[in-house]
């Protein structure tokens, strides 16, 4: 049991979907060896989003809480806080679940999926998945102009003008911030956020 479990964990997930299949399979095999009772129970009906993205969803909600947006980012005082995910969402429905019933800057939060930046107006936070990383260049100027916080997950994302980028360090999630890019968009990071960022440029 121990070694099997380790094998599951030591395997770096090549992609979320493969990891999922792998984890489900190995997990089920391992469990059925030791706990026939447990294995008889379905692990869970729906396909599971990797923990990494559940965590990233929770981080995005925290970013919404700890960054201050200029008034110009919202059309009026009652308009919601919009988190948009570019391209194919790696979150499943976890991002919706994470923000359900919560507020940011006193506004209800809604989650949207957008295929291109033209569709991203009235958005406050844009998440750029690794698969769409190359599109940062085309959209960063628009985001700066419209006061949109751009969050990505590639190693060079912040260097290339993204505002926050996730990075996996060992087994934990960390994030880097680019304050000058954020200032260009009139966004203000809270002290707490800066304190916890692993790298501030």
């Amino acid at each position: 049991m121990v070694t099997r479990k380790k094998a599951v964990l030591n395997q770096k997930p090549p992609s979320p979907r493969r990891f999922l299949r792998f984890a489900l399979l190995k997990g089920a095999v391992a469990l059925s060896c030791v706990f026939p009772v447990l294995a008889a129970k379905p692990l869970h009906g729906q396909a599971r989003v990797p923990k990494e993205y559940q965590l990233k969803a929770a981080f995005l909600y925290n970013f919404a809480k700890f960054v201050q947006w200029p008034d110009k980012s919202f059309s009026d005082t009652t308009s919601p806080f919009v988190i948009a995910v570019l391209g194919r969402s790696p979150f499943g429905d976890e991002l919706e679940k994470a923000v359900q019933g919560r507020t940011a800057n006193g506004r209800a939060i809604i989650v949207k999926q957008v295929q291109n930046i033209g569709a991203a107006h009235a958005v406050q936070l844009l998440f750029v998945p690794a698969a769409d990383d190359s599109r940062l260049n085309e959209l960063k100027d628009i985001c700066q102009a419209q006061g949109i916080l751009v969050v990505g997950e590639s190693a060079s994302f912040v260097k290339r003008g993204g505002m926050i980028a996730f990075k996996v360090e060992g087994d934990n999630l960390r994030f880097e911030v680019n304050t000058s890019a954020a200032e260009g968009a009139e966004l203000k990071f809270s002290a707490q956020l800066l304190k916890l960022a692993s790298n501030v440029r």
Binding site: V34, E52, K188
Partner: protein, 681 residues
């Protein structure tokens, strides 16, 4: 210095639900203030639960594995509160005892510069013996005097992970003396304290306090930190003395060869000195002399811990430590060496049982040097303590109804075999509400002080008569104090922004130790012959206490949070009700956390403590109720610098919080101002 009083103990350990435990013990695994790990859980990681965590907590979550079973604090079947590093930082808190003021219902009374009386649910005293305190899994309760030398307990507060406080009995997992509360202080893993950190505080009391820490990596997955902390603090005693200085240093190494395996090795050394006024008792005239008495505390400890997770439901922890303590003041000199080894194992059975069991052994030697005021007979004691515990968290209705049954079985050198069973039921009718109820038994082992000491309280020389000496005698025949506690609690979170927590209790105590008068006698030894008016410790007191603690959190806006609490305590002790006056009946506090633009935090608190009337040199002297007001501003100009300014006790020039037995002056806590700068890179 203040007097030791009657009682002892010394068992420790583990939060109710087991898996608090593995984390608490493992410290290294994760830092998760909001979560208190009970055996049961709703199973999966839900994004909506994760979103309840702070960024700091999220950063400690593993990205690859499913979290260990954990239940939000909300679902714990006990009155539990958590103090985080953020609370400490925002309110400019400089010591562990001062941090405990933030806990609803906790009675924290500062006696003078370096002494506190701290208890929960009554029976406060400088050596309150019904509260168990652990720092990184090591007990700091002294079985000799029966209490905690608070002046010797300190950490680099920047490296604090959290302080978990349970009000009410925790004896099933922690054993003797976890009668009215357990305080679990954990520091961060070395992995989470990387880099250089220095903080310096200057102020009317801090002259100054400096903490230094450096954390680095020794190899892949092996992290370390070393620290030093030094302070000089101004005395509070207007009669003179009370200046306090201390230095300490230590290290911690955390090795995580895999996500399932953690090894921790840590050690500390400290030295603390304070000037005290002390009334020396003499049998020859002049019968009392007020003298300066240096108080010294030194100590060193080293602890190793291994935690191994086998699966989500199964883990093993093994821990051992050695602790050396020397304490001397006008009363006595105490040398204490403690060796402790513990293990615990957790596993699931038939899908509905989450079982944790474990055991341990502790060997303590205590040597006391006599003084004119305090004599120990014999002056060397060797104590063996064996314990075994088992607890089962049974799922009656998944996610809704859980029953936790367990007991501790303990054998100690003083009172022999003791057992501490408990039953806890928690019902979660909806995600917003929790109802819990518990019945538990706890015992407090008498301290060596109450068993074998003679304390000379006062002496005087009337005209034409032999001297008269007033003394208190220990009693080797004492048995353990017993408590049966009935608790009911309710938590509700009507919205994501608002929560309430009510805990109520009814406690029945028996065999409480109290000093009862002896017939007046005549003593020829020690010379000169004198009249002896004495009392002797007996298990002669019983009583009932009941009360409630209400606390609430309100996130008024995303940048403004209010936290409030009120506690009420009623004690009914018989035949002698005087001890009731040691603890306040009403306490109230409200704290405001406000985040302003430009990375500025503005924090304020107001606290009210009711009148008490504790002992001062044999008689009860009232302490008026007081309102304490604190205000602080913290500015983070950038990621590596923090600057803070605080005013504490703003409403009054000075106020007293407790009486000292040895110092005839009632020491008052002054208004103070402090600035602190913290740099890290």
């Amino acid at each position: 210095m203040t007097l030791p009083r009657r009682k002892l103990g010394g068992r420790q350990r583990y939060l109710f639900g087991s898996y608090a435990v593995s984390r608490t013990l493992a410290g290294a695994v994760c830092t998760n203030a909001l979560f208190f790990f009970t055996g049961h859980s709703s199973g999966q990681d839900h994004s909506s639960d994760l979103a309840d965590l702070s960024i700091e907590q999220l950063m400690n979550e593993s990205v690859t594995s499913v979290s260990k079973k954990e239940t939000p604090l909300n679902d714990a079947p006990a009155a539990i509160s958590v103090i985080t590093a953020d609370d400490i930082d925002r309110f400019g808190i400089m010591s562990i005892p001062e941090a405990l003021r933030l806990v609803p219902g906790m009675d924290v009374a500062r006696i003078d510069g370096d002494h506190w009386a701290i208890s929960s649910r009554g029976f406060n005293f400088p050596f309150a013996d019904k509260l168990l305190v652990l720092i990184d899994g090591r007990t700091v309760y002294t079985p000799a005097s029966g209490g905690v030398f608070w002046q010797a307990q300190d950490i680099v507060l920047e490296d604090l992970d959290r302080i978990e406080v349970i009000r009410g009995p925790g004896a099933t997992l922690w054993g003797a003396n976890a009668v009215d509360g357990v305080i679990n202080i954990t520091t961060k893993s070395a992995k989470d304290t990387q880099g250089f950190m220095m903080s310096t505080a200057f102020g009317t009391e801090e002259m100054p306090t400096t903490s230094l820490r450096y954390g680095g990596r020794l190899a892949d997955n092996v992290y370390y930190r070393v620290y030093g902390k030094f302070f000089n603090r101004d005395g509070f005693d207007t009669g003179g003395g009370d200046d306090w200085s201390a230095e300490r240093g230590g290290f911690r190494v955390d090795w995580e060869p895999s996500h399932e395996t953690n090894f921790t090795l840590q050690g500390d050394y400290y030295k603390s000195d304070a000037d005290k006024l002390f009334t020396k008792i003499r049998f020859n005239p002049p019968s009392t002399i007020l003298t300066d008495a240096e108080e010294h505390n030194t100590g060193a400890d080293v602890l190793g811990r291994w935690t191994q997770a086998f699966s989500k439901e199964s883990s093993l922890t093994l821990q051992t430590y050695f602790d050396h303590v020397e304490q001397s003041d006008g009363f006595a000199l105490e040398h204490r060496d403690t060796f402790d080894i513990d293990f615990q194992h957790r596993f699931a059975l038939a899908n509905i049982n989450d079982i944790v069991w474990g055991g341990g052994y502790r060997f303590t030697t205590v040597k006391s040097d006599p003084s004119p005021n305090l004599v120990w007979t014999p002056n060397v004691s060797r104590l063996h303590l064996f314990n075994l515990f088992v607890q089962d968290d049974i799922t009656l209705v998944p996610d809704r109804l859980h029953l936790t049954l367990g007991s501790k079985f303990e054998h100690n050198s003083i009172t022999g075999f003791e057992i501490a069973p408990s039953a806890r039921l928690v019902w979660t009718p909806s995600d917003q509400q929790t109802v819990w109820a518990a019945v538990s038994r706890g015992t407090a082992t008498p301290s060596l002080f109450s068993l074998k000491s003679r304390l000379n309280l006062a002496a005087f020389q009337p005209p034409f008569s032999p001297p008269i000496v007033i003394s208190e005698f220990g009693n080797p025949n004492l048995v353990a104090e017993k408590l049966i506690a009935y608790e009911i609690g309710y938590r509700i979170r009507p919205t994501k922004q608002l929560s309430f927590d009510v805990a109520t209790f009814y406690n029945q105590y028996d065999d409480l130790i109290t000093a009862t008068p002896d017939p007046t006698g005549f003593e020829t030894d020690p010379a000169p012959p004198h009249v002896l008016i004495s009392t002797t410790e007996h298990n002669a007191l019983s009583g009932e206490t009941y009360g409630a603690e209400l606390s609430s959190q309100w996130e008024v806006m995303s940048n403004w949070r209010l936290v409030g609490s009120y506690s009420w305590l009623h004690m009914h002790l018989h035949p002698d009700p005087s001890t009731e006056q040691d603890s306040p009946q009403h306490q109230f506090q409200i704290r405001s956390y406000l985040d302003l633009p430009h990375n500025i935090e503005l924090n304020a608190s107001i606290a009210y403590v009711d009148t008490i009337s504790p002992l001062a040199a044999g008689t009860r002297v009232p302490i008026s109720s007081y309102v304490r007001g604190d205000l602080g501003i913290v500015w983070h100009p950038n990621k590596s610098i923090e600057v803070g300014v605080w005013g504490q006790n703003l409403f009054q020039d000075r106020h007293a919080e407790f009486n000292s037995i040895a110092d005839p002056n009632q020491v008052e806590i002054p208004r103070s101002v402090m600035g602190k700068i913290t740099v890290c890179f």
